[in-house]
């Protein structure tokens, strides 16, 4: 995808290839507007490297039609702003807390995939955390839980 063309079609915040990819899901998308905010990362590469021919980076592609995606050129030569959000309704209130503890809030998977996509595109691989010596203690377990979930949490 040519950068100038992409710049022109991203007025609405959605790149050409991805727009096409999304059209079929437009109805669904409307139904779950509550899915709420886009989670965004900025990737230090041109849009045509982030979504070559409209193809999504592997970690996001794996989430298939459970998400919607937007791509736009970042200002100031900072590369590409890549956003995603789950199409299925996200839990709220107490349900949200429980789902997140279980790692089942759909936003967690989306956040993780966005971060992995960024690392993959910028560095060529998804960086893996170090292996932990296995000796769980009570406080260690809390840290473990937080650490395990950390790729899918945060403000992103």
């Amino acid at each position: 995808m040519n950068r100038a063309v992409l710049g022109a079609v991203t007025v609405g915040g959605i790149g050409v290839g991805v727009t096409r990819w999304l059209t079929s899901r437009r109805t669904k998308a409307r139904a779950v507007r509550e899915a709420g905010r886009w989670m965004m990362v900025t990737i230090n590469r041109d849009p045509d490297e982030v979504v070559p021919d409209g193809r999504l980076p592997e970690p996001l592609a794996r989430l298939g039609d459970t998400i919607e995606v937007q791509v736009r050129e970042a200002p100031g030569g900072r590369g590409t702003e890549l956003g995603a959000r789950p199409l299925r309704p996200v839990p709220a209130g107490v349900g949200e807390v429980l789902a997140r503890l279980e790692g089942e809030d759909p936003r967690q998977a989306v956040r993780r995939a966005l971060r992995q996509a960024k690392c993959l595109i910028e560095t060529g691989e998804v960086l893996r955390p170090d292996e932990q010596p296995d000796r769980p203690t009570p406080t260690g377990r809390i840290v473990d839980l937080a650490a395990q979930r950390a790729g899918g949490e945060g403000r992103l």
């Binding site: 230090n44 560095t123 170090d130 260690g140």
Partner: protein
């Protein structure tokens, strides 16, 4: 392999842990030859940095030999003698490309905690809690080094191990304070703290052309070392009013650049000592900002204050009014080592930067808990305890 593990507040033990493995194609495994204590570890020991897990291997300032490389490693090979930056940087995100390596966007694989605490996640650091990536540290026989092409630097033949070691952390941290603090020829620079970091900041200020460099601490042996090896003037903060003394020495202006190299466990004289220590115990305040406060009051109008000391969260009674009304610039950062290490190794090669004097104590890894006791409590003139895992 053998490693020094954090077990709880002020509790370290030497344990057997599994050897690290190559997990990414851009990793290397480094056999650790020298690894040293840093003031930052004291904040882990004291329990001020959240998300440590019993069994975590600590240590982040080290030098060693590459023993294994992943399939995508291009700039290094087995047997290279390297000093490794304590901060992990991918080299290709926007911040790495702009030489702000400690803000790398890809190296903290556990970003949630720091995003919650600070709004976004800084780079991963070896042996520095799960908030900063959960990487195993260097106080071990081996360590996995991710993105090794960017974080490891071959040591020139003319530089010995003990000097090169401090190009990992103390020297680039100090250099960054002077550089990003904006030190220019003719400046008067004050540095709070005469530990490894403060001494390196003072030396950097001198090499960047400062006219006078004044370093502040209370330990006579550290003050003497700073005068002798660094070439800076000193002030003992327990014997005089630091702000008044600095005014007197600077024609009433105050220092142009003030570098804080003390951190969240700062010590103080007078009532603030009791006030902040009590609040910190009660959890009402996370960090004790004595030296930063003093630097802000001492700094000349329009000057700059650079915070090298580590802070974790909130401070109390912060003189924002002085910053605003005196037109000060306040900055801080974890070190952008990859930006400075080649130049520092070069300066070491030329004999303009010497660091080996910081290594006041050398011992085996088995003795590391004792090394931390000496370092933490500043016993026996300890400035840095250096461990040799293979001795």
């Amino acid at each position: 392999m053998k490693a020094l593990c954090w077990q709880g507040v002020n509790e370290l033990t030497v344990e057997r842990v599994p050897d690290p493995r190559i997990l990414n194609a851009q990793d290397a495994i480094v056999k650790v030859l020298l690894t040293t204590t840093c003031g930052s570890d004291l904040h882990l020991l004291g329990g001020y940095i959240p998300s440590m897990r019993a069994g975590d291997v600590i240590g982040h300032e080290f030098l060693g030999q590459i023993v294994e490389v992943g399939s995508e490693v291009r700039r290094h090979k087995v047997d290279d003698r390297v000093v490794v930056c304590s901060i992990i940087g991918c080299g290709r995100c926007w911040h790495c490309e702009h030489d702000m390596w400690s803000l790398c966007e890809n190296s903290n694989v556990k970003p949630a905690l720091t995003e919650m605490m600070w709004g976004s996640d800084p780079a991963g650091i070896f042996g520095y809690s799960h908030a900063l990536g959960g990487y195993r540290g260097s106080h071990a026989e081996y360590v996995r080094v991710p993105f090794v092409d960017y974080g490891a630097f071959s040591v020139p033949d003319g530089v010995d191990d003990m000097n090169a070691l401090f190009a990992s952390d103390a020297a680039p941290t100090g250099w960054m304070g002077a550089d990003l603090g904006g030190v220019r020829p003719g400046d008067v620079v004050a540095v709070w703290g005469c530990g490894g970091v403060g001494q390196m900041a003072a030396r950097a200020a001198i090499l960047l052309g400062a006219d006078r460099v004044i370093a502040i601490d209370k330990y006579p042996e550290r003050l003497a070392m700073t005068e002798r090896h660094i070439g800076a003037e000193t002030i003992d903060y327990t014997r005089t009013d630091v702000i008044a003394e600095l005014k007197e020495r600077t024609g009433g202006r105050g220092p142009d650049v003030c570098i804080e190299a003390v951190g969240l466990e700062a010590d103080a004289t007078g009532p603030q000592r009791v006030y902040d220590k009590a609040k910190q115990r009660l959890g009402l305040e996370l960090d004790r900002p004595f030296a930063v406060r003093e630097a802000v009051y001492a700094c000349r109008k329009g000057g700059s204050v650079f915070v090298l000391g580590v802070f974790a969260g909130l401070v109390d009674k912060f003189p924002l009014g002085a910053i605003m009304n005196k037109g000060l610039t306040l900055r801080g950062a974890q070190q952008h080592g990859q930006r400075y290490i080649p130049r520092l190794l070069d300066l070491m090669d030329k004999g303009e930067l010497r660091t080996a004097h910081l290594a006041t104590h050398t011992m085996t890894l088995d003795e590391a808990p004792r090394g931390y006791d000496l370092f933490k409590n500043k016993k026996d003139g300890c400035v840095r305890a250096v461990f040799r895992p293979w001795a």
